[in-house]
Symmetry: C2
Subunit: 347 residues, 2 copies
């Protein structure tokens, strides 16, 4: 099987191309998004609402236009290769469901149901059962129906012991309760909720950096469960007026938070306000990942952000003890970047 990153830790390319050398092409991803935008521009269903930062799509409910269905499809990436190598299949289901729950939570939606897609090279009923049991448990934890799924055995496309896992969530929201990000303003605080490990992003880099013979030693960190932020967010919303939210997935803090800001605002992050988890700090060190790329490739210890007034930030921290103020919003002049990350506190 072609493994474009297999030789990488031994023959290091220039720093700037580090992540690309692990086999993930960010430029190609941007080009694909451009093409999708052109395709979507050709026709848009009248019931479709403008998305917020493309975390999820929203569709007005036929016959009850004050409500919208909110849906998102995602996968767990090459985390499955580590799960397969370590034969630990129980946690990827929660990774998948929680990722999707967080995506529609950005639009304030409550999950209704979920469907999974499991693709394997050779079907082993015990392994498939373990994976789907994990999906089912995570659905149940959110009072969400596991409404269906597909298991596909595809010899020739997957190696016998490999698998891919993706899923789709559908939730519901009152259209008036979808965050209006235009309310975000200079002086607002960015509240961060802690990540547990890499979640479901950066695994091509991790696999290229950590040799497979070390995976078992790092197993708990590599397979740490992508948490759901549902209950923390609801607890904060009970005490604070949340103006915008972001799920920190591929693209990191640097790309995801700006997706939910008005064009007149930028996000300032102060790295000194939270601690980068040891495993992520070690991965950054071993991969020589430059400062700018760190906050696009990895979550750097923050899994979800909420933007609130500074007065409400104190209430949010009281409601959810693990929450931290990780930065604030400033006015953005034309041409300025939408996110700035200070490695140490400067103010």
């Amino acid at each position: 099987m072609s493994e474009p990153d297999a030789n990488w830790p031994r023959a290091k390319p220039p720093l700037r191309d580090r992540y690309s050398a692990s086999g993930v092409d960010i430029d190609a991803a941007h080009q694909a998004v451009e093409r999708y935008r052109d395709i979507a521009a050709g026709w848009r269903h009248p019931a479709q609402l403008e998305g917020i930062g493309a975390f999820a799509g929203a569709f007005r409910l036929p016959g009850d236009e004050r409500r919208a269905l909110v849906a998102s499809t995602d996968g767990v990436g090459t985390k499955t290769l580590i799960a397969a190598a370590l034969r630990r299949y129980r946690t990827v289901g929660a990774d998948l469901v929680n990722h999707c729950v967080n995506d529609i939570l950005v639009l304030n939606a409550t999950p209704l149901f979920f469907l999974d897609y499991l693709a394997v090279g050779k079907l082993d009923a015990a392994i498939a059962g373990e994976i789907v049991a994990g999906v089912n448990d995570a659905c149940r934890a959110h009072d969400t129906a596991l409404l269906g799924g597909e298991t596909a055995e595809m010899p020739g496309l997957y190696e016998a012991d490999h698998f891919d896992l993706a899923g789709t969530i559908v939730g519901i929201v009152d259209v008036d309760a979808i965050p209006n990000i235009e309310r975000v303003q200079a002086g607002d605080a960015i509240v961060g909720l802690p990540a547990h490990g890499l979640h479901t992003n950066g695994y091509s880099l991790a696999r290229a950096t950590i040799p497979q013979e070390e995976w078992a030693a790092y197993g708990d960190a590599l397979l740490a469960e992508h948490p759901s932020y549902y209950r923390s967010v609801r607890a904060i919303q009970d005490v604070a007026d949340v103006k915008a939210m972001a799920h920190i997935t591929g693209g990191g803090l640097a790309d995801n938070v700006p997706r939910t800001l008005p064009a007149t605002c930028k996000a300032i992050f102060e790295q000194s306000r939270w601690t980068v988890p040891l495993f992520i700090a070690d991965l950054v060190r071993r991969s020589d990942l430059p400062h700018d790329e760190r906050y696009r490739t990895l979550n750097m210890g923050i899994g979800f952000t909420l933007i609130v007034s500074t007065a409400d930030a104190m209430k949010a921290l009281a409601a959810v003890p693990e929450a931290k103020v990780i930065g604030w919003i400033e006015a953005r002049e034309p041409g300025e970047p939408a996110a700035v990350i200070h490695p140490v506190r400067t103010a």
Copy 2:
């Protein structure tokens, strides 16, 4: 890359294991379904309706319990390997969307929106754009929003030029309009709508039977588009009382039609009533597929079935000229098979 079926046409296993030798393990699939059933039995969301033959799941709409959302996830199987080998990417999107439309049509649902999942070894924006354009066109043909999607680049899991494509559809139905299959009775007619090629099933067998150097010659047949039966079914419903429907996917006529029959009924198919398409007949011959396995592995030329009274069958055929009566319903005694296929007409 491991290719369990590569040697198969040269060293033929016993007839009964033919499909299994192509790398798809029907027994493992049944075992996995058993495990999923056990998992699902542990908890069921109160809004979840009993499915019909597991083609799709249904979930009562919160706040309007006379309606239900109907959802299904599916993929296009290893048809993607043929599309990738022939570099013909435009049709797999329609295969995927139409497959999903047909699945929820079994519950009489009208599609609302769709989300796709595209996984690649190496992202090529032009190819991804072509695939997603096909998805978009097929959505538009059903007035269905392409609400979102995920494109994942996963080096190490997929070979550089390979891809997998899956998707999820969500539709809506009045709960009273979901077919009540208990109304099916002996004497009813089975109306079949013609398939175009293999649709999205039997590709592991096809790849094992037809050497890759012949794929280009068979390209149009191998990549024939999985049709949507939406308009044909609606046209038949305008003139006939449709009691049950089935989408003929993996498992063929033999497994899919019985999934929508009461336990007291069996389906009798008369092969003489329709013509097996030349390409499928040739595949059966070249693979030495035994009679019983043909109707489980391949669609044998029928893509969708509807059960109506014999009086209504004539109206259905008048409304949709390509429809055919392909069999009828008989009373089933305990222990009898739920489907019988007569290779030639016996009555």
